[in-house]
Amino acid sequence: MARNIAIKVARAEKDMTQKALAEAVGISRQTMNAIEQGEYNPTIKLCRSICRVLGKSLDDLFWEDE
């Protein structure tokens, strides 16, 4: 699974650290990092929570261009 750069960029736009985003979403920092590193495939529920906090759509954060 490829690294998720879109989340990192989106939280940078919001001036959020990984820790702050993890707390806002209600998950551990390790899980947030694993999602960004592409090591963990989150459920659709968790994807939606991340999108809601960052003000982005699922496509913006989780769609991979071929």
Binding site: K8, A12, E13, D15, T17, K19, R29, N33
Partner: protein
Amino acid sequence: MKKGKKNRLDEMQEQKMLRIEHNCCWLAFFGLFAVILVQLLYYGMEEAERFAGEWIVFMCMAVYIVAACIKNGIWDRRLRPSFQTNLYASAAGGLAGGFIRFLATYRECGDLWTALRIGGIVFLCILVVCTAVMSLGVFLYRKRVERLDAEAEMESGDEEGEETGGNGK
């Protein structure tokens, strides 16, 4: 499974399979625990070799669960890692252990006072040992979480406050 044969289960089936394996694991864990208790009550500590096999498997499962959870920075679904929680959990274990030892001793010698004393000593021993072991577990867990957080920080490449100022897409 990953390297060998292709997984024939879809996502939902995989989740259900994990759930089944999870239930099976806990059934085996508490089943072994119940078997050990029954044999302890029936044979007493003098014939502990009768259930040594069950005890070894039970302890292997317990050690694996604790070690794997700490390695992954996980403590418990509901309980917080604190001294107070450890004390309550140890007291509960101590009460159960003390009561079982009380029953086993009373069955062996028939003297209520002796059984109560031995039950009380076992309760205190379990309380102290479990509290100490669980406190060590909490200490190791906290160290591990700190390390995992530091690794996550290094991998993400962001220091606290580094991203302020935002860099667009």
